[in-house]
Symmetry: C2
Subunit: 322 residues, 2 copies
């Protein structure tokens, strides 16, 4: 495990990295720090705009401003860059909406009726810090706010972009809904304590985390005015890193330092959750994650140096330590 | 209490009804039956389109297709008619999205951590019929689907209407969120067992039910291409009937027949909930509801005969028996 987030983009397997020179000198640590600052500042502002302080707003703020990786919003911003768009207000708001949806899903998944987790991002979960009713409603409110924020993106150039914005809302809602993330949580819960194979596990993850990671990248590309070919290539990239992310998460759950991860190691085994290391073995899981990242990088080959952040993020996903 | 839904629109107080002739012969029973059929058929289809049957889809279907009044979607359709628009596919989809949001809020409000209700619309609540985790997720999924449906409305007339559709999404999300319906549920829960006055009660209802009823009417007017003056007049109408609806609900909770209402009478008193009959007395509450309806009808005076359904619905709200 390579500590920290810095990555040299030197691949350890046979697949060659396209454009490796372009991305080779890219400073991901600085990039992530800058984008996370922008995202956090914008999210603070969006919560502030919700009006006077209240228990509900406190709970939304508490969960949203926890120390998250901000993977989804960063992917959105990086995808917009890949198709040649800067981090405009529309792109940034879309990115924040994605993090709100991710956070709501964590709050609800942590509830006693679901995964019954007491620790998240190194702090008490929302229903422990507040109470169960407030946690349910704070999750609902973050999901709702996400769509308000998305609908409030008024791209400056009128008609054509308005249509794209409706497509962004559709894309994200579809990925977050009963054929995406929520179905993933249903399947994840019903698989607990059961024997499932690697195919079924891959499907659970495609729903639970893959769909929203793909939507993050696609919505960034749409906000940035990407062509159909670009959107397709970025979807392929996202499907691969989405799965790689989950495989890496399972590996971290076995090997990770609970201090750094902000949650206990070995909880998956305790909960009798099916994991890649459990099904494929630890070494094969690591190789699988690397192969997925190599596939992701292949699909970036139609892009120029603007895709450097996406290259680096793909690498980071399997090399991170939390 | 006038049984059934038929209303003659004969007012019992001093305020004169504008355009009463135009609305006098309007057959609300037939209108509601027709619109409810359209709404239910469209909602069935929208759930079917969500893909193969699953426990999650079953739970969404179960709660959505319960015997609801369909007040919000009917108001949306009637508001579109008031500004001269037929029930186009866009109007109908928007109407269905409103009912989905209403249904999700009922599922979550009924949860053990909130109002802990076991009966809703005459049947076991979602978490009783399924389980708590499924109920939380089915609510989440209906809320998410609502926004997917709204974003999928592609009004036929291009640019100008596309812009309106983003405003529809904003309007509904804002009313459903932490400055609207969800804050209302927070306040409602925290007021239980406490002494509050009529002003505080009115505020709770303005958040909890008023905001979404107003959004239903406004979104219908926007979908129908209403002018700013028309939208303003309809907002005023909606604020009055929204409050009237809640006052009438409190009266029904005291006087209603549990067989017809689908839930027990007297539950508010049992839960120590503040109600209008409790604060103002029963007779004064009835007069208050009638005055609110009269105000609502006044704000319809700028409309022609196309507003007949809105007249009739305002009357129905205080005369219904469930």
């Amino acid at each position: 495990m390579i500590p920290g987030e810095k990555t040299s983009l030197i691949m350890t397997q046979s697949n060659q990295i396209p454009h490796s020179d372009a991305a080779g000198s890219f400073d991901l640590t600085a990039y992530l720090a800058e984008k996370r600052r922008m995202i956090d500042r914008q999210m603070e502002q969006l919560i502030d705009e919700q009006g006077p302080p209240s228990r509900l707003h406190d709970a939304m703020h508490y969960s949203l401003m926890g120390k998250g990786k901000r993977l989804r919003p960063v992917l959105c911003i990086a995808a917009a860059e890949a198709v040649g768009e800067k981090t405009t207000p529309s792109v940034l708001r879309t990115a924040c909406a994605l993090e709100m949806i991710h956070t709501y899903s964590l709050i609800h998944d942590d509830l006693p009726a679901m995964d019954n987790d007491e620790l998240r991002r190194g702090r008490p979960t929302c229903h422990i810090r507040f109470d169960e009713a407030t946690a349910i409603l704070a999750g609902d409110a973050l999901l709702t706010l996400a769509f308000e924020v998305l609908a409030g993106c008024r791209p400056e150039n009128g008609g054509e972009k308005q249509l794209k914005q409706l497509r962004v809302v559709s894309t994200i809602a579809s990925a977050a809904g009963s054929q995406g993330m929520i179905e993933g949580q249903m399947r994840d819960m019903s698989a607990q304590g059961k024997q499932i194979d690697a195919g079924a596990l891959k499907q659970i993850h495609a729903f639970k985390t893959g769909a929203m990671i793909e939507a993050s990248v696609v919505s960034g590309a749409l906000c940035g005015g990407g062509t159909d070919d670009q959107v397709d290539a970025l979807s392929e990239y996202a499907r691969n890193i989405g799965l790689a992310f989950q495989v890496a998460d399972d590996i971290l759950n076995v090997e990770g330092d609970p201090e750094i991860m902000g949650k206990s190691a070995g909880t998956d085994r305790m909960l009798q959750k099916a994991t890649y290391p459990g099904l494929l073995g630890l070494e094969e899981s690591k190789q699988y994650a690397k192969d997925l990242v190599a596939n992701a990088l292949q699909s970036l080959k139609i892009f120029d140096t603007e895709a450097a952040p996406l290259y680096a993020i793909a690498q980071y996903i399997v090399e991170r330590n939390r």
